[in-house]
Amino acid sequence: MEEKQKSGKLLEVKDLHVSFFTPAGEVKAVGGISYDLNYDEVMGIVGESGSGKSVEAYSIIGLLQSPGKVVGGSITLEGEDVLAKSKEEMIDLRGNKVAMIFQNPMTCLNPVYTIGNQLIEALKAHDKKVSKEEAAKRAMEMLELVGINNVEKRMKQYPHELSGGMRQRVMIAMGLICHPQLLIADEPTTALDVTIQAQILELMKDLQKKTHMGIIFITHNLGVVAEICDKVSVMYAGKMVEQGPVDDIFYKPGHPYTMGLLRSMPRVDAESYERLIPIEGTPVDMLNPPEGCPFAPRCEYAMKICLQKMPPYVELGENHRAACWLRVQEQMAKEKSGQADAKAGSQTENKEAGDHE
C-alpha cells in the first residue's frame, strides 16, 4: 500500500476554543490552542484526565457532542476549513481524510456483527461503487497489514472472540481502510498490557512509514510519547502550556508542569532508589478555573503575576514554546542585557570613531 508522498502542512489549528454549556455553567474545556501538523509527523498530546485533550481531538473530526460547542478559532485540514463544513461533508471527511481510533476497542466494535461485516461496511459507506468481493478482498488485505493472521477465519468472527490486542488491531484496520491522511489515536494503548502495547506501538510506527499519514497521539504516558512522537504538546486545564520537538520537551522542558511531570515518574532504568518528587495539589476544577495561569495554584515557582494574568508564549528554541511568566522574565532579562551590550558596543565604536578624528 505505497502512496505518493506528500509533504508540508496537513492540519492547522488556530486559537481553538471549545466550551461545554452545562446547567452549572460554561466549562471552557479548550481555551485557545494552536498547532500545526505536517504529513509524516506524529504529534503527541499529553495531559491529565480533564485537561481537554480528547475534546480537542473530537472537534477536529466533528464528533463533539452537545452540550459541547466550538466557540472560536479555526481548524484547517489540507487547506479546507473543517468547521465550515455541513453535516454531509463531514461524513464524507470522516474515514476518507481523518480517522480516529479509541481507547477501548470493545465498546467501539459492534458486538453483533462479524469483524468482516464491520470492515466492509466502513469501506462501502465511503465508496458506494465498490463490489462486495472487492470490499472483502480489501478488508482482508487490511487485516493482514495490521498483523492479523488467519484472516479468512477472523473475518467471520465476532469481537468477543478476539483478545484486546487483536481488537485494537481491528480498530486500526478499520480506521485505515479508506487511507486517511490524518489518524487521531485517543489513548489507543492505555487499556492494553505492556507487551501488547509494545506490539501496537511497533505496528503504528510501521504503518506510518508505509502510508506517510499524520498522527495525533493522545496519551498520558510519557514513555509512550518518547517512543513514538516527533513533537509533543503538553496540555493543562484546556490550555497548551508547552509545545516542542520531543527531545526539547524531555531534555529542556520550559514549563514547570512539564518539569513536574517528568520528575514525578519513576524511571525503569534508574540505577538506585530516588524518592519521587510529586506535583502537589489537585487538578483544576474546570467550572471555576483560576484566573491567570491555570497551573499557578500548584506551581512551586508561582509569582504574583501568575495568579492574575495568563502568560504569553515564549519561544525557547526552534518550534519550542512555553507559556510561563518565568520564561517571559528570563527573556526580558536577556533582551535587556542584549540591549545593554548593543549600547556598550555602539559607544565604544563611537569612541573609536572619535579617536580616529
Binding site: V194, A226, T282
Partner: protein, 344 residues
Amino acid sequence: MSEKKDILVQVDHLKKYFGVKGIKGPGIQAVEDVSLFIKRGETLGLVGESGCGKTTLGRTILQLHPPTSGKIIYDGQPIFEGEDPWQKDESGQLVHVKTPKPTVANMLPYRRKMQIIFQDPSASLDPRMTVGEIIGEALDIHKLCANKKERTDRIKELLSRVGLNTEHANRYPHEFSGGQQQRVGIARALAVKPEFIVCDEPISALDVSIQSQVVNMLEDMQQDLGLTYLFIAHDLSVVRHISNRIGVMYLGTLVELAESYELNRNPIHPYTKTLLSAVPVPDPEVSRTRQRIVLQGDIPSPMNPPTGCRFHTRCPYATEKCKQAVPQFKEHAPGHYAACHLLG
C-alpha cells in the same frame, strides 16, 4: 530460605482454581503452585500482564477467596492448609479426588492484621456512607474504641495521617477526587493498625501527577508504622521504585523473583526480559537506541493452560523439554529465584 522469625507471610504451593459451570475439570487455573515469602517490613512487588493471577494471589493470601490447596502461614501460625483435590490420572487429565477438609483458622483476629487497598477507589467505598462512617465501621467491627470521643478522635487522626482535612469525615465519597478517594481507602485500611497490607494496583486509576503523591505517602507510612506490603501493579517502573523484591507472574505461575534492582539489571527468565523491554521509557534517546523484544501472540487462556512451562507458546527460546515438563522454581543466585529449563 532465610531466618524464620523475619518472615511475616509464607505461602507454599498455593493453588486457586475457579470452577466453571458446565465444564468438567478444574475450570480456571488462576494461581498454580505459587510459593513465596514476605519478610517483615519489606515490600514485595508482584507484576504481570492482566489475567496472570496477581490480584487473585493477593486476595487468596488474605483468604478473600478460599484457596484450593496449599499452605499459608502468617507470623508462624498456619491460617490455611489443604491437600490438592486435583490429581493427574494416567492420561494426564486433572481429575477430582476426595481429600480431607482443609484446615482454616478463624480469620477475624487476622483481619485486624491483614488489610487491603483496592484498585478502584470509587467502587470500593460505599456511596451511601460518609467517610467517617466508612473508617469508623472498621473500628466498630474490631471493637477498638471504648467510647464515642475516642472513635471520633481516631477517625480525625487517620484522616490527617493520609493528608485529608478532619472536616472531611462528614462528606460522602462522591464529593472527593480520585486521589482523595484513594486516600480514604488507605485510611480505612490503616484504621485497625494492621501489620500487612495488600496494595492491589492502588495507583493505576489515578492521574499521573497524583500517582507520585500516593506512592510517597505509602512509603512514609511504611517507615512510620513498620508496615509490610504486597504491592500488586502492572506498571513495572512504579513497582520497581517501591519494592524491595519483585515477583513476576505469568499465567498463574511465579516465573521469577529477585531483589528489585537485581531483577532490573539482570533478569534471567525470558518472560521477565520481554516484560522489561516492553515498558516504554520516558527518554527519547533511550527509546531510539534500545533493542526491544516483541512477544508474538497473546496470553493463553487459564482455562486451558499450555502443558509444561506455561510460557513455552510465546517463548522465543522454547525447546521440546519446555513443552513437556514443568520447570522447577529454584534459586539460581542468592535470593534470585526463577523457573526455566534453560537455566538448568
